[in-house]
Each structure stands twice: as structure tokens, then as C-alpha cells.
Point group: C2
Chain length 340, copies 2
């Protein structure tokens, strides 16, 4: 039992009243009959009354409209429960309905009995730690994080809009690749990264902004020199995204989306697991989308042809596990039908 | 004087100790001799001691190392000042140095005297509202706002990078226009918008991403049809930026940067004050930058020629007040010399 130092405080009643009224926490004391013997300013302010108006009234009458239990038979007031059952609460979260505030008031509540020298309950107190301000700040915090996240997503959409202003094909292509890539991630049991996969796929070709359109949209085969220019787009894209700290995850993914599983891709010749997983997923989705849509220089493949091509290149161009998953996904869902 | 309801609380000393120790606020009481008669858990925890260890010790000795005043002769402890001078404090901000925490502990402090029935000071109390958690959340909020702001700036830089990947001239042009525009805003006594001016000017030509480079970089005069295509860039730019909510300020500015003061500009034919102020500022900076740099189809103007041209078009193409300010700026600072 801790030492009771309060016995040394002169003018204790005066002091207790002062500290109760300086507190932002809600403090209420009821006697053996459930009558309010003390209520501090913070508590009464919430109820829209002066403390003096509450003294001597029944807590159940004054605050709970005469109701002691809810329809399930639970005490509405932890303080009344403590008085009547002796059950004390320590730091439980409670909501107090304030007639003055529109929303509930959230508190961390502790209750207990005051015992006389014989150990009998002389009164019960409730100490409700007022969490409102802290909760408000926490909520603001959450909102800001949300805004930050939204801003990231919107920035990605602004980039796809920027791609679209000069190259509508790439915009549509990116949107379909994003859909396919996200479906692969989900099918592979990777829901945690599925949003990142979607976003990364949306901007994987952002570097094409930097490729002259006479090369980008050239009908027919590219010369070797033109192909070298096109190949810059993954690095250009990574360089654009690198400017935004919160896009750091995207930079490596976009840079590596033309790497090959066998190490013969570009720009860095990464191989196998060295290539970010999301880049490997995008690579499969990208190839499938490209094969199954018309290009200026050829007609599109059928779904079957495209899947056969993916299978043929599994282990060389593509991660074989991802190809397997993708083929199962297309066949299993009959999803190819709607495309083909 | 408020009604003293605490007289009705049974077992007052027990109750007072309980609520003191439930409080996160720091509560200290000293007697007439400055000896600590009560200190709650929140206060003693900060000092790294148990409350019982502090009781009966001199506050000046136990907490302030025996020093009562700072080198300017001010009381180190508001509580001691209250006891000795009778001066009471209400909600003053204080910093408490805790040996346990690296940073200062910020409190909102109230002090006062406890008076006996004859009105003599029997003791003094300090009630320090603990602002640490709230301040921590506030700081986190500030940091998040900072990150949000940084992300916006970085996104703008990513767009200038995107412009730069295909059109290095526009990037350099935009950077110089941003500088000039910001100088105009500052010279006009508009420091509040100077950063927005800078950012808006950096991205004012972002829509050029959507203009085919054979038109954008055409040496020689544009045909009417080509000019119509070029003119789309302000709307394309606004459409890109529109995707990001936090860029809403930029959208109208970028859209209107080719409006003319006389209403003969594009895309909306706005006139005078209908044109956003920042667009009018960018318009002057833009024209000046364009005139004073070499283009594929002409050599650059001298500073004097460019200023004369701005003056000639003040009131028709440009806001005359902004032109005046700009000319004063260039002449007054001798800044033209370094450019010319």
C-alpha cells in the first residue's frame, strides 16, 4: 500500500476542489445512495450544467434519465456498477453521450470505491480521462496520412494523363496492364502488394514521354538505332519518379520492367530473383497485353496464341512461376473468353 | 466564490490521493517553509523518484539543486515564487527539465496559495498540465503536413523532369520563368504567394508534353493549323494537374497563362482581373524569358528591346501594373546587366 502523503496537505478540501477544477479529466463522486456528492467543472461542462446543480441529485436520474441498465441488462454507468457490485474498472474505454457535443465523448475510465476505516464502501468515484483532444489530433493525423496517400495515387493518375495527352495508346495499354498485373498478384496470394502492383503498372511506361513520337508510333519495324532510343524509356521513367521521395518503391520496379528472367533484358541485365517481383509480374502482363491488342505493324494474337507464347518464353524472358499462375488464372476463370 | 462541494466527499484524503495519482498532470504542494508536502506520481515519475522520496524535502534543494534564482534574478520555480511573493500564475507555459527525458517537458502551469481560515498562506500548489503527448501529436501533424508539402513540390519537379526528358529547352525556360515570376511577386510585395508563383511557373508548360515535337521544335514560322495545336498546351496542362486535388490552385493558373489583359488571349478569352494574378505575372515573366533567349527561328532581344516590348504591350497583352513593377525591378537592381 502506498504512503498516504495527502494527510500532510493543509486545507485539503480547498486544495482538492482546486485540482479537480484545474483538471481536464472528468471526476465524479457518488455516495452510498448513488447521490452525486462531487462533480468537477470538466464533467459538468460536458453536461451543460454547473457543478452545484448536480450535487445532491441521483446520478442515474441526473445523467441517465432514470435508466440504470441498457436493454441487455448491462449497467449504463460504470460508476453505478462499481457502487452496487463492488466491481472496479481500470482504464476501460467508455463513450459518454454529451447533450452539448454532437459526437460521443471518448474517455479512458477508472472507477473505485472509497472505503471507511472499517472497510465499508463510503462512496464511489469515477475518473474519466478526457481523450477528446488527443483523439482529435490522432484523427487529424490519420486524415493527413490518407491525404498523403491520395495525393500519391492522384499523382500517378496525373502521370497517366500526361502520357495520354500525347500517346493515347500507351495510356490504354498501361491501364490494361495494371488490371492484369493486379489480377496476377491477387491470384498469387499477394494482396498486400496488389495496390502497389496496380500503381507501378499504371506508370511503368511513363518514360515514353521522353521518346520522340516518330519512333514511338512508327509503323513497321524499328531500326537498331531507333530501338536503342525506345529502350531508354525504362530509365527515363525511373528518373522522373525518382524526384518524388514517396515513389521510391516505384523507381526500381519501373526501371526493371524490361529485364528478362535469363539476364538478357535491359537496362541492367538483372536475372531471376534479382529483378523486383513486381517488375516480373508487370513484364508478363505487359507482354500479354501487347500480344492481344492490335499494333500499327501487326494484328493481335488470339488468347491461345498469346498464352502459348508466354509458356514458350517462361524461364527465358519470364518468371515461370508467374507465367504458370497467369495461365491458370486466364483458363480457370474463363476470363480469356471476354477478351478473345 | 464557487461552492465548495468537496466538503461532502467521504474519505477525502484517500480520494485526493487517488485522483492525484490517476492524473497525468504534475501536482506538487509545498508548505510555508518550501518543503514538499505532496507530489503525485506523474510529477515524481519525471524526476525519476518515488513520491515518498520527495516528501519533507525542500523543493529548491530536491528539484533545483539548491538554486532559487537564475542569473538574471528570476525565480527558477514558479511555485517557490508564488509561496514567497504571493504572485499566482494561471496557465503559463513552462518548461521542466527532466533528468529522465532528453528534451524539455512542456507544461501549462497554474500555481496558487492555500489559505487558512484567517487568510494566511498555509501552503502553495503547482498544477502543471502535461502537454507532452498533445505536443507530440501536434509535431507529428506538422511533420505530415511538411511531407505532404514536400511531396507536392517533388511532384512538380517530377513533372519538370518529365518535360525535360523530351524537351530540354522547355525545362530550362520554365526554370528561368519561375525565377523571374517569383522575383516579380516579391517586388510587388506579395511574399505569401511567391512560392506558389514559383511552382506554377515551373509547371506552366507541362501541357507541352502533349504537343508533337515536330510542331514544338519546328524551326521557322508555324502554320495556322500548327499554331492551333500548340495553343492546346495550356488546357492539356490544366487537365494533367487537375488529377491531383492539392494542385487545384495550379489548374486555373496554368490554364490561363496565355490569356491577354485585353481579353484576346486563349483558351477562355478572360480579361483584366478575371485572369488569375499569378497567370498575369507568369505571362510577363514568360514573354521576357522568351524574348531574351535564342530561339530556333530568331536571335534573342537585348534587355532594353525586351523591356520596350513589354512596355509597348502593357495594357493590351500584359497587366500594366505588373509590367511597371517588372521594369522597375530590372532597372533598379541593375539585374539586366548580368543577363544582357
Amino acid at each position: 500500500m502506498r504512503q498516504n502523503y495527502t494527510v500532510n496537505i493543509p486545507e485539503l478540501a480547498q486544495f482538492t476542489q482546486i485540482i479537480m477544477d484545474l483538471s481536464d479529466d472528468l471526476i465524479t463522486v457518488i455516495d452510498q445512495q448513488g447521490m452525486i456528492v462531487a462533480m468537477n467543472t470538466a464533467a459538468s461542462r460536458l453536461l451543460g450544467v454547473r457543478p452545484a446543480q448536480m450535487i445532491g441529485r441521483s446520478l442515474v436520474q441526473a445523467v441517465y434519465g432514470g435508466k440504470k441498465f441498457d436493454y441487455q441488462g448491462n449497467y449504463l454507468s460504470p460508476l453505478v456498477e462499481t457502487l452496487e457490485t463492488g466491481r472496479e474498472f481500470k482504464n476501460i474505454e467508455t463513450k459518454i453521450k454529451s447533450p452539448l457535443l454532437k459526437s460521443d465523448f471518448v474517455c479512458r475510465t477508472t472507477t473505485g470505491l472509497l472505503r471507511d476505516a472499517q472497510g465499508y464502501a463510503a462512496a464511489a468515484y469515477a475518473y474519466d480521462k478526457n481523450l477528446t483532444e488527443a483523439r482529435y489530433l490522432e484523427r487529424t493525423n490519420e486524415n493527413l496520412k490518407e491525404v498523403l496517400h491520395t495525393q500519391q495515387l492522384q499523382t500517378v493518375l496525373a502521370f497517366t494523363e500526361a502520357i495520354g495527352t500525347r500517346d493515347n495508346y500507351t495510356r490504354g495499354h498501361s491501364e490494361r496492364v495494371a488490371e492484369y498485373a493486379q489480377m496476377i498478384a491477387t491470384a498469387m496470394g499477394l494482396p498486400d502488394i496488389s495496390q502497389l502492383v496496380y500503381i507501378a503498372a499504371l506508370v511503368h511506361d511513363v518514360g515514353k514521354i521522353g521518346i520522340p513520337e516518330h519512333i514511338l508510333n512508327k509503323p513497321g519495324r524499328l531500326t537498331e538505332a531507333e530501338y536503342q532510343v525506345i529502350k531508354q524509356h525504362s530509365v527515363l521513367g525511373a528518373n522522373i519518379l525518382k524526384k518524388v521521395d514517396s515513389f521510391s518503391d516505384l523507381v526500381a520496379i519501373v526501371r526493371a520492367h524490361h529485364e528478362r528472367y535469363d539476364g538478357n533484358g535491359y537496362p541492367d541485365g538483372l536475372r531471376g530473383e534479382e529483378i523486383p517481383l513486381i517488375s516480373r509480374i508487370i513484364s508478363v502482363a505487359d507482354a500479354f497485353e501487347a500480344m492481344t491488342s492490335d499494333r500499327s505493324y501487326r494484328r493481335r494474337f488470339s488468347i491461345e496464341q498469346a498464352l502459348a507464347e508466354l509458356r514458350r518464353c517462361a524461364g527465358s524472358q519470364f518468371d515461370p512461376v508467374i507465367v504458370d499462375n497467369f495461365i491458370k488464372l486466364v483458363i480457370g476463370t474463363g476470363w480469356g473468353k471476354s477478351l478473345g
